[in-house]
Symmetry: C2
Subunit: 709 residues, 2 copies
Amino acid sequence: MQKDFPLPDRCAGLRALLEPAAIALIGASDDPARIGGRPLRYMLEAGFAGRIYPVNPNRDMVQGLKAYPSIRDIPEPVDCAIIAVPAKIVIATIEDCAAAGTKSAIIFSSGFAEIGGDGEAMQAQLSDIAARTGIRILGPNCLGILSFGPRFFATFSSTGDAGYAEPGPLAIISQSGAYGTHLYAVARSWGLGVSHIITTGNECDVDVAECIGWAAEADEVKAIAAYAEGIKDGPALIRSLELARASNKPVIFMKVGRSEEGAAAAASHTASIAGADEIYDAVFAQYGAHRADTTEEMLDIAYACTAGIYPSGNRIGLITISGGVGVQMADHANKLGLNVAPMPGQAQEELKKVLPFAAPRNPVDATAQVFNDLTLLGQNFSIMLDEGGYDVVVGFFTVVAASPYIVEPLLKELDELRERFPDRLIFLSLIGPPEIVARYRDAGYLTFEDPCRAIAAASALVGFGKSFAGTRPSVPDAAGPLKALPAHALSEWDSREILAGAGIPVVEARLVKSGGEAAEATASFDCPVAMKINGAGIAHKTEIGGVELNVATPEGAGQLYDELQTRVTKQAPDARPDGVIVAPMIGGGIETILGVQVDPVFGPAVMFGLGGVFVEVFEDVSFRLAPFDHEEALAMIGETRGAKLLRGVRGRPSADMDALANALVALSRFAAAHGDALASVDLNPFLVLGEGQGCLALDCLVVPGGVED
Amino acid sequence: MQKDFPLPDRCAGLRALLEPAAIALIGASDDPARIGGRPLRYMLEAGFAGRIYPVNPNRDMVQGLKAYPSIRDIPEPVDCAIIAVPAKIVIATIEDCAAAGTKSAIIFSSGFAEIGGDGEAMQAQLSDIAARTGIRILGPNCLGILSFGPRFFATFSSTGDAGYAEPGPLAIISQSGAYGTHLYAVARSWGLGVSHIITTGNECDVDVAECIGWAAEADEVKAIAAYAEGIKDGPALIRSLELARASNKPVIFMKVGRSEEGAAAAASHTASIAGADEIYDAVFAQYGAHRADTTEEMLDIAYACTAGIYPSGNRIGLITISGGVGVQMADHANKLGLNVAPMPGQAQEELKKVLPFAAPRNPVDATAQVFNDLTLLGQNFSIMLDEGGYDVVVGFFTVVAASPYIVEPLLKELDELRERFPDRLIFLSLIGPPEIVARYRDAGYLTFEDPCRAIAAASALVGFGKSFAGTRPSVPDAAGPLKALPAHALSEWDSREILAGAGIPVVEARLVKSGGEAAEATASFDCPVAMKINGAGIAHKTEIGGVELNVATPEGAGQLYDELQTRVTKQAPDARPDGVIVAPMIGGGIETILGVQVDPVFGPAVMFGLGGVFVEVFEDVSFRLAPFDHEEALAMIGETRGAKLLRGVRGRPSADMDALANALVALSRFAAAHGDALASVDLNPFLVLGEGQGCLALDCLVVPGGVED
């Protein structure tokens, strides 16, 4: 899964691609409307600071610049060659570039993997050239790069026709050129500044994951909006997300293809191995990225990130001049997992003194009367921030805040507040002419028309804050030196021994090889037992009559031993039984399922869910990449709806969550240690007993890599 | 729950309130900035067509109009009196109005129920005056009415300061004045026209429900956006929703107070008995209103309603110039329950002929290449509408559609399409200067910046279409003449007999009064039986040892009869056992729970959910008001996540959904027939067997109204 070229050179190549000082445009056209003419026009008009060398064998001059017959004729090796030539001569052109010492190239041309067949083969050649020569390639079939600081507009997108915006803090990194420029167009219409648009197209070499890593280290980037239909290099994405987290840079990621219909459309569009969609949920949760579903969600969050404040807590204070909107805001905050904590009792009394008609609990309904004396609103805010101690405050002031009588005195109150509480995330929901709204923004407040959108953005920022603040222990090492897994199918007993050796709790049991041993084992447990046929490759024991539950007496167990052999031999003549497992029947507890899957893109991932219909019918499961720590295990359990049952609601006892989390951590270390040598693990049922009583696998199966299930 | 004043007069009063020809302004001020001055200023500036009589005992003229000392001195009885006087003289003022033949009044003044105590008492007096004299009262504590057609601006909201917009098709009806005007301010900033803003405040008389009914019949209103924290008169709301549905007018309803925090805030804000929040979900589902959570959702849908097209099917066709956005759209449509049906095979071939590079399945990825020849896009659209037969089409064209080279030829293609398919709902997702976007709107297309918001609005309109098209049989009559419920607690056996008499399937059983009878009954069933103590008011039979399952023999049953009596007498000395119920043990099937609750606002509602932890822990239940029909029962089942289990997924057999729906219908008729005479019904467990095998209650309890549980 990892690239095989030495990383340092490749990094230099990526910088040359994204921050070039000298560029060539191969296929340069004098016609500023053509694909080969547009990048030149954009850069000349906008004033790109670097050196530009048009390449065109048929002309001496292109758009007023001296043209060169080929890349070899340019007086210096360029950082980046923009390639706007037909697909059929792209390979020769890239070879020329590499030979001329060109560090990177952007290929606009389409007609590669997206058309299958020959196109696919040609794209594979491009990948080979990149790997062999070290030239970094963006594309093919991409819209290129727009870098707003240096005005490096290596694109033929008509986006530039609408003018060249001032650079801002948001980097847009997208596989889809159309979506990347769409996102930019919306951001621009909102007045949200963008630093780069990088479109990666077919990704024969440079991919979205790597560009996120570059953006994480670029000073001018403060937030990253990424779009992908699928990622081919999982570890690269994880490295980049870790880099972004280490730099306190939020990553807002839209990964499409969630539904069956969407995944089908994605497959027909990119034909990439994208990995399972639910694993992306795990990756984003684990590495602190926010997964967005819509453009608006992406940009709302990106805008809120411009405040640069990422609270570490989730307490939200709500101020409103309309009780009804207060209710609506409380509903929405609650739905998004924010804590609408009531004001402390004393603070409520203070508020009541200031505003006798106010509802002081939270939401604080200041009523429209505060606008008669705006110092009251200032006091109100101040009490909330000081004594309420909220991490986030959202104030709903609608059109009132834009009234000409109110703007100046309100801003005076707010200026002072901003100074006193610089670290709090404060949103104002208001409606007014752009120039009035801008004054509130300039005063250091985030403004949203809709209070619920403000709350949704706040919730995402709280998520980033939690991720950035993570003083969590570094991810645990994979389990210590483990015996290699055998390269053949395992029996339940062998699986059990291996997992128990890795610290995963399993039910006490004995493997018996005769009726006599079965009777003896049953007697030793002194309670009813379960008897299960054992043998490598026997997966569906119940279906072939290989399981008996509630066997009450040693004599019964002795007789059943032979009967189980007979039944299994009859039902599954190919099975090679190897004794019978005798285990005590365990009552009570909650049945869950733990498992390991190996994702083709991200490697081993641990699954958790409630047992029975919860997994089978409701697909109520969560995933995490292995390995992970106790805290992550608890988060993973908490993501399932079934966690409610484990927590013990409505008078039910709570289950041993700590023991369950420990088992998940142990399973994750086991999975990580074996990596590709493992195909899957299935602990089903995995019984979680009451608090302090532990948990244990009642059945388990380990399938080594390369072994047919 | 129903108003006791004769309806026709009250309707006339409502019309007088909302469409007045002559009005008085009591407390009229010459200062156009004061509460008593603003309505006059707004109406004079905007040119209200009716007659205006200012009332002010201290002045001869107010803002240039002749003023009258009191309402009695006005030369005609006015349709509506706007009352802007202090709370303490409001009652006397209203009495004067009623005496002078005033048909309706709007009370701005606050200081009534919202402050509790005396205020509450004063508000009760207002309600009494309205009921006694027939004068209709809006408020108190409201922002009044803005009616944009006749420019009747009976409000002191500063909303008017921003100018007087042209009327449009949307009526805004809101308990909260601040939210109503906020909604209007957002609508105006979007260019979405509004016909009325009606704010009902404390609702001493006129309420949101009644105003929806009025708007349903007002020609100038095409869609209704309503906001409430709670409704006091459930049947009035239902009548109004029915009226709106009969007029094909969509109602988009925001009812806040979903979460615990929200409900707490709502209670402190209005102190109204709001009914259970989940019952609102039922009412909106049942009567075809769309429940919205955010302002944006409300207005997106309201805007889409301006097309006046409500599809009866849910097939959505997606056209995109970006494959990636196609995937995103397919995901979103799927999530919202729309059917992203693939194009018919032949149509796919045709599309391929027109656009060889296109992905023709659905989403149709036309790729940016169509913009080289826009007739191809027209053909593409045409094939989708003609042969794909989609009810809704959403096209994603982003900034490309606003390019100066493309607008004219694209509009030409689109004009023709609009003419050929006038009944299809077509959305374009595009970004451009307002004047360009307006051209697409003028051509009869709905335009959205974000394709996902277009899809969400489409999904709501499909919901309305389904509701409007409903050729469903009228709601079934309540069950025929039923014996009145006794006014005392019922035993399980009595409950069983009553429910069985109402057509609800119950398990075969016998009530026995001795050990001998118990043995005989057990023998007659010829299988293991369940034995349960019977008796009025014995609710928790298992806890007091009153239940034995799996009794295998007649002898055992005979002995257990006495033992059950002894146990129960010991554990619950107050219980008055009345025999034992003997019933066969039934295996298999899926356990569900059916119930009836009587909502204080909406009356009897039937509940459905899967049994066990599904109801208790996951609260996975749905409700419908009683009575309802088979189709509604199926919809109600389908709303629960648990329906997946009943439908039989992953190789599981499906359950007898028809029998279950029949049982729900029978229960709903029973509940409706008894109405307030019923407190609750509980069928738990209610076992649903395999397809064609029926369903039956294993345990049941009917609690008559006024009887302690």
